[in-house]
C-alpha cells in the first residue's frame, strides 16, 4: 500500500487480481495487532501545494474514528497571508507526526502510549489514565483528551484501516491528492521517492522529534508557531490597527 487516493484507484484492479492469485488470508480490521510489522515504516507526505482547504480529510477522520464533537485528530489550518499588498490563502493539514523520536512516549507514566514497530504511535485507551502528560509533551498540539473515553486521543494513521490494507481515511478522501501515505522502508514507494527527491520539510525540526509526516511546499513561516493574528472570530484591537 502506497499511494494517494488517485493512485490507489489506478492500482485497484491489479490489487484485486493479486489478492485472488495469492489467496492471502485477509486480515481482520477489528483485530489490530498491538505491535505492528517491523517490515514497514508508515509515513505521510503532505503536498501543501495541492491542498484546497476543503476539510474533507477533517470530516472523514471524524466519521471514520468517531472523534467526539469539538475534537480533531486532523484539521487543515487555514491562513490568509498578505505579502507586499497581495493576499492569498495558505492551507496546512495538521495531524500526529508519528515521530521517530516521539516526546509523548517517555513521559507516559503507564505505558499506555507507545510506538508500534511500524512507526505508528498509538494509545491503548484501556490502560491510559488520562493524566494528559503526553498532551503537554507533544510539540504539535496533536493530542487531546477524548471526553467520551476520558483518555488521550490522537491520529493513528487509521491503523485499523492500514492493517486491513486500506489507506487512512484522510488520504482516501483527499480531493486534491495532497496527502500521500506509504512505507518508508520500501524504496520504491511514492513516499520514499518524494522524501528522497523532493527533500520535504517537517514541522518544528528544532524539537528533534524527527516527524514522519513530511511537507512539500511548506512555508518556513508556518513551520513552527505561526506568528499571526488569531482567528477572525476573535479580532484583536492591535491587529485592526495593523490592517488600517
Amino acid at each position: 500500500m502506497d499511494r494517494s487516493r488517485r493512485n490507489f484507484c489506478l492500482g485497484a484492479g491489479a490489487a484485486t487480481v493479486g489478492a485472488a492469485t495469492l489467496a492471502a488470508v485477509p486480515r481482520d480490521a477489528d483485530a489490530v495487532s498491538a505491535s505492528g510489522d517491523a517490515a514497514h515504516r508508515w509515513a505521510m507526505v503532505v503536498d501543501v501545494r495541492k491542498c484546497v482547504g476543503c476539510q474533507a480529510c477533517t470530516v472523514a477522520c471524524i466519521m471514520e474514528n468517531d472523534v467526539p464533537e469539538n475534537s480533531f485528530r486532523t484539521i487543515v489550518s487555514t491562513y490568509e497571508v498578505t505579502e507586499q499588498g497581495r493576499a492569498g490563502s495558505y492551507m496546512l493539514p495538521r495531524l500526529c507526526n508519528h515521530c521517530e523520536d516521539p516526546p509523548c512516549i517517555p513521559v507516559c507514566p503507564t505505558g499506555a502510549t507507545y510506538q508500534r514497530r511500524d512507526g505508528i504511535v498509538v494509545v491503548d485507551n484501556s490502560v491510559c489514565v488520562g493524566c494528559a502528560y503526553c498532551v503537554q509533551a507533544c510539540p504539535y498540539d496533536a493530542r487531546f483528551i477524548n471526553h467520551e473515553t476520558q483518555t488521550a486521543d490522537k491520529c493513528t494513521f487509521c491503523v485499523h484501516r492500514v492493517e486491513a490494507g486500506l489507506l487512512p481515511a484522510c488520504v482516501e478522501t483527499c480531493v486534491g491528492g495532497a496527502r500521500i501515505f506509504g512505507d518508508l522502508k520500501d524504496p520504491d514507494s511514492t513516499v520514499s521517492k518524494l522524501v528522497r527527491e523532493q527533500t520535504p520539510k517537517v514541522l518544528k525540526p528544532e524539537m528533534g522529534t524527527q516527524p514522519r509526516v513530511f511537507y512539500i511546499g511548506l512555508d518556513p513561516k508556518m513551520q513552527g508557531k505561526v506568528d499571526g493574528t488569531p482567528t477572525l472570530w476573535r479580532p484583536a484591537p492591535h491587529a485592526e490597527k495593523e490592517h488600517a
Binding site: I75, S77, P103, P106, V107, P109, G130, I145, G224
Partner: protein, 379 residues
C-alpha cells in the same frame, strides 16, 4: 523588509488538559513541603525558639499534604485507574516517579506529624474527658521522643526533597512549552511554595493560633528572605529572556511578551512579591495577616499562571487560546471543593489538637510535672 501579515482563519483550539485540579495539587503539595521544612527546626532539630512557628507549620504540612493527593487524583481523567501507575516500570516518566514519591512523602509526613504531636496527644489523654481514651490510644502509650521525631523528620525531609524535585522537573522537562522548559521552574516552584507556606503560617497564627508576636516577626523575616529568592529567580529568568543569551528563555519570553493579559499578569506578580516583601521588612510586627494573605495568593497565582496560562499558549497556532473558568468540577467547583477539603482538615486538626492548648497550657489531671520533658513510660 518584506511586509507579511498572517491571519489565522481556521484552526483548532486545544482546551487545557491539566485542569485547575492540577493548580490545586501543585499549590497544596508545595505548601505542604514548605510547611514541613518550616517545622523541622522546631521539632526535628529541637530548636525551642522555632517550636511555636513549627507547630503552625506542622498544621500547614499535614492539612495541605492530605488534601493534595485528592486534587491530583481528580486531575486524572480516569481517576479509578490510578493503580495503573503501580503495575508498570516507567523510569522515563517523572510523573511515574511522582507516583512513588507521593505515598513515600505522605506516609512519612503522617509518621513525622504523629511523632511531633505525640506529646500533645499524651497530654490530652490525661485530661478528664470522653475522648481521653482515644488520645491515649493515639499516643500509643508514649510522649515526646526527640530521637523518633528526628528520625521521622530526616525521612520525610528526603521525601519532601523528592516531591519538590519531581513536581518541578516534571513540568520543566516539557520541551514543547517554552514557558515551562526552564531549569528555573523547579526552583521557582520551591521558593514560591516556601513563601506560600510562610504566608499560611502567618495567617494561621492569627486565625487558629495565639497571634504570637514572636511567630509573626520570625515569619515575616522568613517571608522577606524567601521573597527575595523569588525575586532573584524571576529577575534571572527575565534577564536571560531579554538578553537572548539563551534561545529557550528568549522564546519563552517572546511567546507571551506581546500579550496585554500577560503583561498585566507580570505586573501583578511583581507587585504581589514586592509589596509583602517591603511590608515584611519595614514592619514585621502587626502585619502578618496581610503579608500572609498576599504571599498565599501569590503562590497560588504563580501556579495558575504557569499551568492555565501556560496551556493557553498554542504550540503551533497564532495568538492565544482563550480560557474561561468552568463552573463545574473541572473548574470553580474543583477549586472550591479542594479548598473546602483543606478547611475541613484544618478544623478537624485544630479541634482535636488546639494550638492554644499545648501540653504546657493544658489541664493535666495527673501530669508528671514535666509536660515538655521526655515521657516514654506508659501510663
Amino acid at each position: 523588509m518584506m511586509d507579511t501579515h498572517i491571519v489565522e482563519v481556521i484552526n483548532v483550539t486545544r482546551e487545557v488538559a491539566w485542569l485547575p485540579w492540577a493548580v490545586q495539587y501543585f499549590f497544596l503539595i508545595g505548601l505542604s513541603v514548605g510547611g514541613l521544612l518550616l517545622s523541622l527546626p522546631g521539632y526535628a532539630f529541637a530548636r525551642d525558639g522555632w517550636r511555636p512557628l513549627g507547630r503552625l507549620a506542622l498544621i500547614v504540612a499535614l492539612t495541605c499534604g492530605l488534601a493534595a493527593p485528592v486534587a491530583l487524583l481528580s486531575d486524572l481523567h480516569q481517576p479509578g485507574r490510578f493503580w495503573h501507575f503501580y503495575v508498570v516500570f516507567r523510569p522515563t516518566s517523572w510523573m511515574w516517579w511522582g507516583s512513588l514519591f507521593i505515598p513515600l512523602y505522605i506516609g512519612g509526613l503522617l509518621v513525622y506529624g504523629w511523632a511531633c504531636l505525640r506529646e500533645e496527644l499524651q497530654a490530652h489523654g490525661r485530661v478528664d474527658s470522653r475522648l481521653a481514651g482515644l488520645y491515649r490510644l493515639a499516643a500509643l502509650g508514649g510522649g515526646r521522643d526527640d530521637r523518633l521525631i528526628r528520625a521521622a523528620g530526616v525521612f520525610v525531609l528526603a521525601g519532601a526533597a523528592l516531591v519538590a524535585l519531581y513536581t518541578g522537573v516534571e513540568v520543566a522537562v516539557v520541551k514543547a512549552r517554552p514557558l515551562w522548559h526552564t531549569p528555573f521552574l523547579p526552583v521557582q516552584f520551591l521558593t514560591t511554595a516556601l513563601a506560600g507556606a510562610v504566608g499560611l503560617v502567618l495567617i494561621l497564627n492569627r486565625v487558629v493560633g495565639t497571634a504570637d508576636r514572636g511567630v509573626e516577626v520570625l515569619g515575616n523575616r522568613l517571608l522577606a528572605a524567601v521573597l527575595a529568592a523569588v525575586m532573584l529567580c524571576g529577575g534571572l529568568w527575565l534577564a536571560l529572556g531579554l538578553s537572548e543569551l539563551d534561545a529557550g528563555h528568549a522564546a519563552a519570553l517572546d511567546s507571551v511578551a506581546g500579550s496585554e493579559a500577560w503583561r498585566v499578569t507580570a505586573v501583578w506578580a511583581v507587585a504581589a512579591t514586592v509589596v509583602p516583601f517591603v511590608i515584611a521588612v519595614a514592619r514585621p510586627a502587626g502585619t502578618g495577616l496581610l503579608t500572609g494573605l498576599i504571599a498565599v495568593h501569590s503562590a497560588w497565582m504563580f501556579r495558575w499562571t504557569v499551568f492555565i496560562g501556560g496551556q493557553s499558549v498554542p504550540k503551533t497556532g497564532a495568538g492565544f487560546y482563550e480560557y474561561a473558568l468552568p463552573a463545574g468540577p473541572d473548574g470553580l467547583m474543583g477549586i472550591v471543593g479542594t479548598a473546602g477539603l483543606w478547611l475541613f482538615l484544618l478544623i478537624l486538626m485544630t479541634a482535636l489538637l488546639p494550638v492554644s492548648s499545648t501540653p504546657a497550657a493544658g489541664r493535666p489531671a495527673n501530669a508528671s510535672g514535666h509536660p515538655g520533658g521526655r515521657l516514654t513510660a506508659a501510663e
